[in-house]
Amino acid sequence: MKEITEFLRREAARLLSEGVELFIGYGAGTRPVSARPLFATKLEEVAELVFNPFCVHNLVKYLLRHADRKVAVVVKGCDRPAVDRLVAERHLDRGRITLVGIPCGGMLARERLLAELGPRLHIEAVEDRGSSFTLRFPGGEHTLEKKKYLMEKCLGCTRNNPAGVDVVIGKEVLPVADPEHDPFKEIREIEALPALERAAFWEKFFGRCLRCYACREVCPACSCTECAFEQAVPGWQQGATWVSKAKSLPDNYHYHLIRAFHVAGRCTGCAECERVCPVGIPLMLINRKLAAETTALFGEAMDDPCGALCAYSVADPDEFE
């Protein structure tokens, strides 16, 4: 991973000196086994860029804040589709963006790492060994089997070599997906529950929601300049917004169901929403379920670049006759 970091820094320097105004990548975090978004505008800043299995953030959303500049952004395979989404919805000009794709050997699940190795890790280097990562720390090393320590989204990943990018950092890597991993297992378990228990499951999680809106702010599909939950609803006497600022189970339910529905057919599966949630709501269960239903009902073809719900077919299945 050291070579990848060095290659990345060289390319970033080259891009910044060839007209790119802002390079968005990852830098070291202040916490053990973490990285964070890094914004480089000057050549000397590229020395802080890194790439390692803690670079979990989807950086694509930041492009929206710099849509008027020439920007380069580091994308992993799971980040890449978000660019197409934002370009198709006319938020971004592809011509102003330089995509720096990094073939990815998987991202480590931080919580599991800390639970296994303790909260005070000082990692000096990481080696990608294909089916495992070796983390070197002062005095030794840990080898972690990817099957056990990767983030759940990585276990089902079939797109870890980002395509359609302008620069590729490093060679193509082997798929990291675990063929035994079933991303729909928990979804099917929920579907098998009676309605009352299903409701209890979601009430437990939605009841915890703090309405911090981190899920919305981090999501690249949530790109509306005025979100439905910031809108004033006509008929103000009856409640000026769709949900009030109050934390209540009905309002929390409303927020999550509608956010999931507004991104249905448009969600690119980066799973950032679930990662950032401070109270551990399993948001990807809903997003993955809706994505699967969208494909099952309406097929893979994207008739409308804005997603399946902005289009129709006269041959759509009809269960309402």
Binding site: L249, Y253, F261, A264, L290, L309, Y312
Partner: protein
Amino acid sequence: MQFEPKITAFLCNWCSYAGADLAGVSRLKYPANVRIIRVPCSSRVNPQFILRAFQRGADGVLVAGCHPGDCHYVTGNYFTRRRLALFKRLLEFTGFMPERLKVRWVSAAEGSRFAETVKEMVEELKDLGPNLVMREGR
């Protein structure tokens, strides 16, 4: 005292609302549990309307529109069909019983179909009881 479900119905002006009207004019009997909101087209129904109905105490929500191909605005109900097929699955996944949201195509000539739909829905909801998912004031 028997439980009387409250149904909020969104009926499109050109087909299903007219169908409901015809049921009335034809003196067809159907339960009074339904509260009708007229919309220009079934595709006007924002899923947030459905959620708000459940929040504010609806035990069931009915959305009725023109048969696909007959939409007064040509393509509106194609969007409805897609949108509500997916939304129904979202509601069921998150704990609503399938009977709570009913979507049906009812034309302006189908007064008896409208009456039957409401009768059927009221019977189903009487068996299920009040909807408690997302209900305010629990």
